[in-house]
């Protein structure tokens, strides 16, 4: 819209016509206070705090509902306005309990801040304040009614933002109250409860301490915590979560997760897992000492030196006696990129094996191959908030990628984005969809054929032929379509869908996977047939060449994949298995007996099914206790920061380095730290020299200093940036905590459409599970239990709701 000129507090300002005055002022650095206003949610004009004086208007006007207009003259801070705000605060404080010293919001409370500013400390009232008992609406949501100032942010957040509509307003006047959707009389315990997704967005939106979090309440004071912004470990969206940490006798404990400054890729959003499910770190079953299995079969605690000596010696011995190809390596979906990269490099160049894999939750190899040679065809999570039209094939973002779902709903609500959904299930996002096609079970393959033009596939794709036809027509007419793909689409189907999408001008793609670094694990080459950046093993890419130069045994052929590794173990062909942050025994239902002749080393937090079969368990730090980077489903790279700390545990990065060291590895070849690294140690110089120390030259060219320690993940990040196609990272962007979008497509000339085995196994997590890790979150267990108490009526109800 055209810009208009107006004057606020004597300043000449310009903003697009239609901009709300409160927003226009904010952009100009003029803060107008408000309780009920929340950007992006419907307007209320209820709190009357944002009143301003507009010339030619008889009364004070609310800045949150007034669009700027040409020639408008506004005052935002006059004695009259200050008095109006002060009086409103005095009214609120009349009934608001002044329990700030114990209130969770104390120190982070908008009512406190405004009282501080407008000085409404005097009270005129002799009557006692209304008191009501606090209510526990769910394990994670508590409601303290007297503290509620009725700004209705929570109601809108839940309804408009989450599309859950679990909160309402009941009664009227001074009896008005925020009410949850399960009234006391409908509840077995005669107390009101909330039947919802337990995202906690209502708590986030609450300007005061009326809604508090079950994990945090009455635990500490905000100023007693350090606030560390890092990336959530639980799903492929990679939301920023800010962890509040507090020192304890054995490290530092995470006491809170929230979306403190809303500065992350997730904007306003954080789901229940990002908010509450940090508590696995504090679980009592945490292993904090290395354990070695004794001849009697029992584990015994040993020192780190003893454990690492043993592992190093054993790995070296087995490699030298039975060959690298007898060793298997399994990595995890929640390792940092640096750790994943280091792990595969360790496997390939130290252990000498390509037998490396991870629990694949989406087929990123096919995705990369299908997009080989393309530019600007991969979408960022941020695109889901702005794309004019979105096609979702497969997947259920509401459950698997709540941040994506939030963005899509917001995009539809605020930008009228068009959402098209094809799914074999009636997923909840269809409520926002312009068109929804319910596919037949296993109808995805037929759908991709149908989209590609094969009309004969229609009947196998969906029963509603007319709907399907209309769906294809409308999708084909879209430009700049964002295509979100669920993990149901793999191999040939995935390639076919992408090929179809590439015919649409401006279409972009994203493939959804399940954990914080599922994408990074694939990008970093935790695959038997792919080196980092989807360089096929045995190819002649620079990376492959450099690896081959360092490879002890000529590992030019693809190694064993996840299932083949366990098959080999069963046949007695696997001498050693090195599992880093993964629980394949449970996930793939591995028979314990298969591993009886294998030397098993597991880096873990807990005594998982896999760890229970180990010969050596090395206690590991989790993603919240280490630094590095992760890549979300979309290819957005973000920095992970160390928040918690636990005495006795080590990061996976450090453990890999230490084991390599104990094996007698040339550490500078594995982790490029220090100055001058390799064969010629600087005798020759120049990019033309094949003998030159490429890494040193690269560092110099990038204005980077050599890293001083082999335990510095940045040393490996340097190498990732140097060698992995697509990972051309902007350091400043990364280190300032911002996200950046990467698209590591396979090099075009190297595309090999082979008949790879489909080893994708979706995690099938619910809103309240998170793989093995989730089992150690007390809060997630509580939420599952809470969910089991009631038949899930919500979804059926909400789907019939008229508005």
């Amino acid at each position: 819209m055209a810009d208009v000129n107006f004057i606020v507090d004597g300043k000449q300002l310009t903003a697009p016509a239609g901009t709300l005055l409160i927003e226009a002022c904010k952009s100009a650095g003029i803060e107008i206070p408000a309780f009920c206003y929340y950007p992006g949610l419907s307007l209320q004009a209820a709190c009357r705090m944002c009143v301003v004086r507009i010339e030619k208007m008889p009364k004070l006007q609310t800045a949150c509902t007034t669009p700027v207009a040409e020639g408008m003259v506004v005052q935002t801070e006059t004695p009259e306005i200050a008095q109006a705000r002060k009086a409103t605060l005095q009214l609120l404080l009349g009934n608001h309990p002044l329990d700030c010293p114990v209130c969770d919001a104390g120190g982070e409370c908008e009512l406190q801040d405004m009282t501080f500013k407008y000085g409404a400390a005097d009270s005129f009232y002799a009557e006692p304040k209304n008191h009501r008992e606090e209510q526990k609406w769910s394990p994670v949501v508590y409601f303290d009614r007297p503290r509620c100032i009725l700004c209705y942010r929570c109601v809108r957040m839940c309804g408009e933002g989450m599309d859950v509509f679990a909160l309402g307003i009941q009664n009227r006047g001074s009896s008005s109250v925020i009410a949850p959707n399960v009234p006391a009389q409908m509840s077995p315990d005669d107390l009101p409860h909330v039947d919802c997704e337990q995202c906690g967005m209502c708590i986030d939106a609450c300007p005061v301490g009326a809604l508090t979090s079950g994990t945090y309440r009455y635990k500490t004071r905000p100023w007693e915590m350090n606030h560390v912004a890092t990336v959530c470990t639980h799903c492929g969206d990679g939301c920023k979560t800010t962890l509040g940490v507090r020192s304890t006798s054995d490290g530092s404990e995470i006491v809170r997760g929230d979306n403190r400054d809303k500065s992350g890729i997730n904007g306003d959003f954080l789901c229940n897992k990002g908010r509450y499910a940090f508590d696995f770190a504090n679980h009592e079953g945490r292993i904090t000492q290395p354990l070695v299995r004794q001849t009697n079969g029992e584990f015994k605690s040993v020192s780190w030196e003893v454990a690492l000596d043993l592992v190093g010696k054993k790995f070296r011995e087995l490699r030298d006696t039975r060959g690298g190809k007898s060793i298997g390596v399994i990595g995890g979906n929640r390792l940092t990129n640096e750790e994943a990269y280091l792990l595969q490099k360790f496997a390939r160049t130290v252990l000498g094996t390509n037998n490396i894999d991870h629990h694949r939750t989406a087929d990123y190899v096919s995705f990369a191959q299908a997009l080989a040679g393309q530019t600007n065809r991969t979408a960022s999570l941020r695109d889901t908030l702005t794309a004019p039209s979105v096609l979702i094939v497969g997947g259920d973002p509401t459950i698997q990628a709540p941040g994506t779902a939030w963005n899509l709903r917001t995009n539809v609500r605020l930008n009228r984005a068009k959402l098209y959904i094809a799914n074999s299930e009636p997923i909840k996002l269809r409520r926002q969809a312009k068109a929804f096609v319910q596919l037949s079970p296993f109808g995805y393959s037929a759908l991709t054929s149908y989209l590609a033009g094969d009309d004969a596939s229609a009947s196998s794709a969906a029963s509603d032929a007319t709907g399907l036809s209309a769906f294809r027509d409308v999708v084909k007419s879209e430009e700049n379509l964002l295509i979100l793909i669920g993990s149901e689409l793999r191999g040939a189907d995935l390639r076919k869908l992408i090929a179809f999408g590439l015919t649409l001008p401006g279409a972009k793609f994203a493939l959804l996977s399940d954990y914080a670094n599922s994408r990074g694990a694939a990008d970093m080459g935790l695959l038997p047939d792919m080196l980092p950046g989807y360089n096929p093993v045995g190819s002649s890419s620079p990376l492959a060449t450099e690896y081959t130069a360092n490879t002890t045994s000529g590992s030019l052929a693809p190694g064993l994949d996840m299932l083949e590794i366990f098959d080999a173990a069963g046949k007695g062909d696997l001498s050693a298995l090195y599992v880093v942050n993964s629980n394949p025994v449970a996930r793939y239902g591995v028979d314990a007996a298969a591993l009886k002749n294998t030397f098993v080393v597991v880096q873990e937090m807990f005594l998982t099914e896999t760890a229970a079969l180990a010969d050596v368990i090395l206690p590991a730090a989790n993603l919240y206790e280490k630094a590095g980077s992760v890549t979300n489903s979309y290819g957005d790279l973000q920095q992970v920061k160390k928040a918690g700390d636990r005495a006795g545990v080590r990061t996976d990065f450090e453990m890999i380095v230490r084991i390599a060291d104990k094996m007698g590895t040339n550490m500078r070849a594995l982790v490029p730290f220090g100055k001058g690294l390799r064969a010629d140690m600087g005798q020759t110089r120049g990019a033309q020299s094949g003998e030159a120390d490429r890494h040193s030259i690269w560092l110099t060219a990038q204005n980077l200093e050599p890293r001083l320690s082999p335990f510095d993940p940045l040393a490996i990040l340097d190498e990732i940036q140097r060698l992995v196609p697509g990972y051309n990272i902007l350091r400043l962007q990364l280190l300032s905590g911002n996200d950046q979008h990467l698209s590591p497509a396979a090099p075009a000339e190297l595309v090999q459409i082979t008949t790879r085995r489909d080893l994708v196994l979706p995690a099938n997590d619910s809103l309240f599970t998170s793989g093995t890790l989730g089992r150690y979150s007390t809060m997630l267990s509580d939420l599952q239990h809470n969910e089991s108490l009631r038949p899930s009526s919500l979804l059926t109800q909400i789907q019939t709701a008229a508005d």
Partner: protein, 169 residues
């Protein structure tokens, strides 16, 4: 039109509801009338009524409760067969509204929003009912009774007890 199987309402009322949701440009417009008619039949808006009305209008039960709790004539607990609503607002107060209220309390032996043990009468002090020029006034269920005196109230109560009271619905 979604007619509800196993309606908790009488066939007549269920049929009326079937029709009611169709006459407005938006289905939801039928909500307030439905709540009133449900209360007229059941004596109050029960949880079952909330559930069926939500189903009929295709909204959440929470939405129904939000609206239900807003309007002062709607109740979620049973009242007496005859709900006596005495106005004490300004015009009635000036002409003896509180005297009438006191008289009702004494005669019926119940207080504000209470129901007599026999369930015949319940009492409520209400805000202005729009009978200011004929004050003091009260409503028994939906019937207006004007220009009251304690004596007239006694006669009225007897009439209702004898089953001669009108019962407009």
């Amino acid at each position: 039109m979604s007619t509800v199987a196993n309606s908790i309402f009488s066939p007549e009322l269920a049929a009326r509801f079937d029709h009611l949701v169709t006459i407005y440009p938006l289905r939801r417009s039928a909500l307030v009338p439905m709540l009133l008619y449900a209360q007229d039949e059941l004596g109050y808006v029960s949880d079952a009524a909330v559930a069926e009305i939500a189903e009929r209008i295709e909204i959440l039960e929470l939405d129904v409760r939000n609206v239900l709790s807003y309007y002062s004539m709607l109740r979620t607990k049973p009242a007496g067969k005859y709900n006596v609503q005495v106005c004490t607002n300004i015009s009635c107060m000036l002409r003896g509204g509180y005297e009438i209220l006191d008289h009702c309390k004494k005669t019926l032996g119940v207080g504000h929003k209470e129901t007599a043990p026999d369930g015949v009468f319940s009492l409520e002090e209400v805000e202005c009912i729009g009978a200011c020029c004929w004050a003091p006034a009260m409503q028994i269920n939906y019937d207006f009774h004007d220009d009251l005196t304690p004596e007239k109230v006694d006669v009225l109560f007897q009439m209702y007890r004898d089953g001669q009271g009108k019962d407009v619905k």
